[in-house]
Subunit: 213 residues, 2 copies
Amino acid sequence: MSDRSGRTRRRGDDLINAIHTAVLEEVVEVGVGRLTMDGIGKRAATPRSTLYRRWSDPVEVLLDALYHAHPVEEPTPGADDLRGDLIRALKLMVTWTLSPAGRAVAAILTDPLSATKMSEALQERVFAHRGGTFTSTVLRHYAERGAFPAGRLTPVVADIGEALVVKRLLDGMPPSDSDLIDFVDQAILPALGLSAPSSDSDRADAATPRPPA
Amino acid sequence: MSDRSGRTRRRGDDLINAIHTAVLEEVVEVGVGRLTMDGIGKRAATPRSTLYRRWSDPVEVLLDALYHAHPVEEPTPGADDLRGDLIRALKLMVTWTLSPAGRAVAAILTDPLSATKMSEALQERVFAHRGGTFTSTVLRHYAERGAFPAGRLTPVVADIGEALVVKRLLDGMPPSDSDLIDFVDQAILPALGLSAPSSDSDRADAATPRPPA
DNA sequence: AACATAAGCTACAGTCGTGTATCTAATGCT
DNA sequence: AGCATTAGATACACGACTGTAGCTTATGTT
């Protein structure tokens, strides 16, 4: 119902999707500050008038695109495998962050003039569904099951994984899978009072909780 | 040597400093993408011609300003106080990050078109002096003194503090002093195999690291 | 088949930033 | 005091983006 062949003119959702895709591409390429109706229109192969019929300026188009972007998969803690689930959660995050929508969010968050406009609704939709909730979904799950002392699950600890991912992205070097494993083994698990499975320097017996002093 | 009174016309370093200040202010206000020679010129109260005599485009002005910005204080590990020094290092980082230069660096790092241009020289000058070296200076110092197992000081662990700070800044909530204490107690020290001074809250009486098991 | 809707096309005046080119006059040096 | 520099003040043509407006015509509906 959206790609019947002989058509020469897009309408409704068809058109809007094309425009959404275009803004996302555009913002990744030129940044929020250089977004223009012209650029978006050219990329979507639609005249500016069509854009102005719906949105008042480029940032509005972008915000709308973000609002309609598919939310990321949520990490679903499954088996009895905290470490594995954490790694999977971070992997999800990296995947999303590297997607057009993820990059666009990063762009808008760091733009002084548009960061303001993205308040309320979007903040919620964009962040509630993924913002900082990649690892914390997992962590809460295992905290309830007593896999580690519940008191250890502070806001700071819930942020460690995401923070490390974000820092690497900012440094221009997206974390590889083995980086993610290191994040979990060397930062998150120790903060929970657990130790990593086994490694050369850090010879721990198993994934046994080691209570602090 | 730079503000003799009766003068009506700035020259040399005087002028250049004014321009540097102007770009930094401008970029914080409008973002890298909307930087213009016009805007910089107006803010510095200098005609565009003067700008073009020295730089070819707004981003060059910005890069030059960053290059000449005062580098941050380096954290100097002093007494035998790992925890205190870590907190101080993070405090230094936050201070710098909130300064015009810090904000400008953040802006340029996240701009798709200018991130490329800032390679080489600036990368080194800007990052060598602070990039990720706030806590790691401290950490290396204490690792050599055997305050914790040297093998614990991995690149990941050296990043934890900075990562958490960066994440909070991105979230629009610059970390308070007590946040920084939490970062150290709940994330960095555990990753080193150490535990925070007093467990329940943060009674910062004994700033002495306590070895684990 | 006729109609309402909305996309596509084109044109326009207006604004803003760009580079460049003059000209002037303030400043620092000798 | 005289001179070389170089900031400051225009002015200019050019291009990019902006909103808006008017027209044509594809599309889905009835």
